[in-house]
């Protein structure tokens, strides 16, 4: 399996010397079947990343049409997230996840207090009234992260050059990482990778 992942790895070393301050990593992610791996969370970890200051102290997950928007989010540990209710009905957002247990009892509009996510890990959120409303949140100890769009593309900006671990995660396979690979960031780079999105193994 590892071998397979390695063969998928493409490092463009030629680009690295051009941008010494910060670089942008553009990823194209595909699943086992070669389809765009939408909603895959990617982030870069290094031994120092967990000490880095909050890059963006607040984030937001809307409830629009009885749906969490976005479905998948990724935030740096310590981020506070607002759950604005854009519907004209009430919601009751909750999570029983280890990383963060909380509930915002029946409310409309934006709750008074945003929720602080101070533990890394997976947080599955739902609405107690609407069983179909689910949102997936990954709390990471790194400011370098992105979520793949519909085409499977994810862009991590402002990454200082150095050696990192590129980690991919998908909510369909929440207990395991979808990909872990070392990357050396020099200059802007593009990378195509295959990730595991399916549960069961």
């Amino acid at each position: 399996m590892a071998r397979q992942l390695c063969t998928c790895l493409l490092a463009l070393a030629a680009c690295l010397p051009l941008f010494a301050d910060a670089a942008t990593l553009s990823l194209t992610l595909r699943d086992e079947r070669g389809n765009p791996a939408e909603d895959t969370v990617v982030y870069l970890m290094s031994p120092t990343t967990h000490r880095l200051p909050l890059k963006q102290p607040e984030s937001r997950i809307d409830q629009i049409n009885k749906t969490f928007v976005p479905l998948v989010s990724v935030v740096q540990r310590g981020t506070r997230i607002q759950f604005p209710n854009k519907d004209n009905i009430r919601h009751h957002v909750y999570s029983f996840s280890k990383a963060k247990k909380f509930e915002i009892k029946l409310y409309a509009d934006t709750p008074a207090k945003p929720i602080l996510f101070d533990q890394p890990g997976y947080v599955a959120m739902g609405c107690n009234i609407h069983d179909n409303m689910i949102a997936h949140l990954l709390v990471v100890e790194s400011p370098y992260f992105a979520v793949a769009d519909r085409t499977g593309r994810a862009v991590i900006n402002d990454v200082p050059p150095g050696n990192y671990s590129l980690i991919a995660w998908h909510y369909m396979r929440p207990d395991k990482d979808a990909l872990v690979m070392p990357v050396k960031i020099g200059a802007d780079a593009s990378l195509t990778a295959t990730v595991r999105t399916r549960s069961g193994d």
Binding site: F96, G126, I134
Partner: protein
């Protein structure tokens, strides 16, 4: 009523209707049974299908309960929170709480790791973790699954619903245990028996709950056997106790191979109302049968009873009871028949009285006949017997009436008889009865007449008959012999009294007395005659008869000898009985036929004996008038000749003229048949009867015997000589041999020789002798000398 009733019309009518009704009833019964069963089967099948639908709805309803309960539970925030926080006690209490709400038998939660949390239900069901795992493995991970699952050893209707927080974290399993209560509940609503079964991995079926008796359950389970396909057609299952129509309905099986609910209808129970109906129908049918049997019985009796009455009436007619016909109270054919019977009865009565009249009347004279007279006599005697009054019977027989008949002819004879009747009636009182008994015999009944009064009456009657009768210009003299018998002196019995009168009358005739009164002395002869008959029979059977032979001497002295066989009776007590004591009697009674046969047998035998001994003797045997009438005699005689190998021409059969004259046609015919056997025929006693030359000419005789009365008187009476001579001439002219009987002395013999007579017979030569004596006699020269002496004279 006779036992084999079908022999009677009534029985047949009854049997026909009874049979017809019975047939209808039986056919109806069979039809009802068949139809009933078929209809019942359809109804039961429909019931089962209905039951199936009801069961389906009930089952769905249960599912809905379970679903709702599960949904409420899985949606409960607190419950999910408890699960998320693995708060075991809270989970259990929530399960318990929700389980109680719908009274679920099972309410549990199993998380994704397979860890169970129990709310309610038997702890044992949890021990079967493998089954739970299989149950969970069998269900779809998305959404709820309902069906039947086996947990522990029990079957549950369950729902498996996932719990999301918001991702699936485990499943809630809620269920109702299927037990007898469930089955009863279902049974109560579906109105059928119901059984739940599941199939174990070893292929056997386990019965989880059933409303059926245990034996039937096992039978049903056994019957399912390896059935796995959907059997949706009702089928019949017979158990020793009852029959069921069953319908298998497959259940949604979750963690077992197969689950079934089987609906059963007890056929017998279902048929019960029908059986009751059928029993009622049968009862009604039987009652109907009984009633209609009764009706047909009455109807058939209505026909048969008058018929019986009529047949009884017919029988009474047969026995001479001509009462009026039975009154049948009806106006149909039977009544017509009764009228017809009545008419018939009247007609028969009329005819019978006419016949009686004829039967009691002598048509010639108009007097009563013998039958009537005997009846009158019996009636009179019966009344006098009681009163002890006297009574007399007089019998009258006309003397020499036969001569009148023969000389004047029968029409004249009849007129004489009528005239006598007229005179008798005229001379008697009204109360006296005159009857003609037959022929020239009359009988007169004199009621209340004493013997002396009877004598006076007889004298008067004699006087009445004395005057000559003028019959068509001819004066005829008539005399009669009267016999008188009186009661109570002679007898009180009509038959005996008549016999007494008869005996007296014969005595009068015999002794030419004019009239005679009965005397017991006269009776001895008669008694003699009576015993004679049986003795004579004994004589023939025990060979008491012997033949004696009287030679017939050839006056021309040829070598040929002839004898006349004469029967003799040597009675063991009386000794020698002369022929004239029993031959006339035998002729009279007809027993002469047996005697003649005996004589023929003995004569032919003796003749053949002599022939074999070289003695050539012809034997003459006498035949009586009765013998001539016997058509079997020629056959018998021919057989005799053959048996004894006797020359037929050595047997000569002697007949009298009068014997032939009684019935010439038959006599002549028989004579010809006798002649055909080859024997000779001889005419005996010629001249004593009313000799008719015309018969003489026609009779196939070769010999003529002149009666002894002429022969014996020849010497004294010249007329007799003339008769003998002319007879001899006549016979010779007709080519006949002449034999003279009664030759008693030499003078007669000489005369006969002179007249040219051929043979002579008489005491002058020999009396009848035994066969042995004859043999000795024929050897002696004495008779030849006698003939020669006579011829010389």
């Amino acid at each position: 009523m006779r036992l084999p009733r079908f022999r009677t019309l009534q029985g047949r009518i009854f049997a026909f209707f009874f049979g017809l009704l019975l047939l209808t009833q039986v056919a109806g019964y069979a039809l009802t049974s068949t139809l009933g069963w078929s209809i019942m089967q359809d109804i039961l099948a429909q019931d089962l299908r209905g039951g199936q639908q009801v069961f389906k709805r009930l089952s769905e309803q249960n599912t809905q309960f379970l679903t709702q309960a599960a949904r409420v539970l899985t949606a409960d925030y607190g419950f999910r929170e408890a699960i998320a926080s693995k708060d075991t006690d809270t989970i259990a209490s929530a399960l318990e709480n929700h389980g109680t709400r719908i009274q679920a038998d099972l309410m549990m939660f199993v998380d994704n790791d397979g860890t169970p949390y129990l709310g309610s239900g038997k702890p044992s069901s949890l021990e079967d973790s493998e089954r739970v795992a299989r149950l969970l493995a069998a269900i779809s991970p998305q959404g709820e699954t309902t069906g039947f699952a086996r947990l522990g050893s029990e079957l549950y209707q369950v729902i498996v619903a996932p719990v999301r927080t918001p991702l699936p974290i485990g499943n809630v399993i809620a269920g109702f245990r299927i037990n007898v209560e469930t089955a009863r509940e279902f049974s109560r609503i579906t109105n059928t028996d119901i059984s739940f079964l599941s199939r174990l991995r070893d292929g056997n079926w386990q019965i989880h709950a059933s409303t059926l008796p245990a034996a039937v359950q096992n039978k049903i389970a056994g019957d399912l056997g390896g059935a796995s396909g959907q059997v949706m057609t009702p089928r019949r299952v017979d158990t020793p106790d009852a029959s069921y129509l069953t319908l298998d309905v497959p259940l949604a099986a979750l963690n077992v191979q197969n689950a079934r609910v089987i609906l059963q209808s007890n056929i017998d129970q279902a048929m019960l109302p029908f059986y009751e109906l059928r029993n009622s129908l049968t009862f009604l049918g039987l009652v109907g049968l009984l009633l209609s049997s009764l009706a047909s019985f009455i109807m058939s009796r209505g026909i048969a009873a008058p018929l019986r009455t009529l047949s009884q009436y017919a029988r009474s007619i047969a026995s001479g009871d001509y009462r009026s016909p039975p009154w049948l109270n009806r106006a149909d054919e039977l009544a017509d028949l009764a009228h017809a019977f009545g008419d018939m009865s009247g007609a028969i009565a009329e005819r019978e009285s006419r016949i009686l009249e004829l039967a009691y009347t002598d048509t010639l004279t108009g007097l009563s006949n013998r039958a009537h007279f005997i009846e009158r006599l019996a009636t009179a005697l019966a009344s006098t017997g009681r009163e002890g009054a006297p009574l007399a019977v007089v019998l009258l027989d006309l003397d020499r009436f036969r001569y009148v008949n023969d000389s004047l002819g029968h029409p004249m004879g009849d007129q004489v008889l009528r005239e006598v009747a007229r005179r008798l009636v005229a001379a008697l009182r009204q109360t006296d009865t005159v009857a003609r008994l037959g022929g020239d015999e009359y009988a007169i009944l004199l009621p209340t007449a004493t013997p002396s009064a009877a004598r006076k009456v007889v004298n008067a009657l004699q006087l009445a008959l004395e005057a000559p009768m003028d019959i068509e210009g001819q004066l005829v003299d008539i005399q009669g012999s009267f016999g008188i018998a009186t009661s109570p002196e002679h007898s009180a019995d009509p038959t005996t009294l008549m016999r007494c009168a008869d005996i007296a009358m014969y005595k009068a005739k015999q002794d030419n007395l004019g009239f005679a009164e009965y005397d017991t002395r006269y009776d001895e002869n008669t008694l003699d005659r009576l015993s004679l008959m049986s003795e004579l029979r004994e004589a023939v059977e025990h060979d008491q008869l012997v033949l004696y032979y009287q030679p017939k001497i050839d006056l021309k002295l040829g070598d040929h000898h002839a004898v006349e066989a004469l029967v003799r009776w040597v009675h063991p007590r009386r000794g020698f009985v002369p022929p004239d004591r029993f031959i006339p009697f035998a002729e009279h009674t007809g027993y002469i036929r047996e005697i003649t046969q005996w004589v023929l047998r003995e004569g032919v035998r003796q003749c053949s004996v002599w022939q074999r001994a070289g003695l050539d003797v012809s034997i003459s045997i006498n035949l009586s008038a009765r013998d001539l009438m016997n058509a079997e005699l020629p056959v018998y005689f021919a057989a005799l000749l053959k048996t004894h190998d006797c020359r037929p021409d050595r047997i000569c059969l002697e007949i009298t003229e009068s014997a032939v004259l009684d019935d010439p046609r038959h006599a002549l015919e028989n004579l010809k048949r006798l002649e055909a056997t080859g024997c000779k025929l001889s005419l005996d006693d010629y001249g004593t009867g009313y000799s008719s030359l015309s018969y003489l000419k026609r009779m196939p005789v070769c010999e003529l015997k002149i009666d002894r009365s002429f022969v014996q008187n020849m010497i004294n009476d010249s007329n007799d000589t003339v008769i003998v001579r002319s007879t001899i001439d006549l016979a010779h002219n007709l080519g006949l041999r002449v034999v003279a009987e009664g030759v008693e002395n030499e003078a007669i013999l000489s005369q006969l020789c002179l007249l040219g007579c051929d043979q002579a017979q008489g005491y002058h030569f020999s009396k009848p002798v035994s066969a042995a004596d004859f043999e000795a006699w024929v050897q002696s020269p004495a008779w030849r000398d006698q003939v020669q002496v006579a011829r010389r004279a």
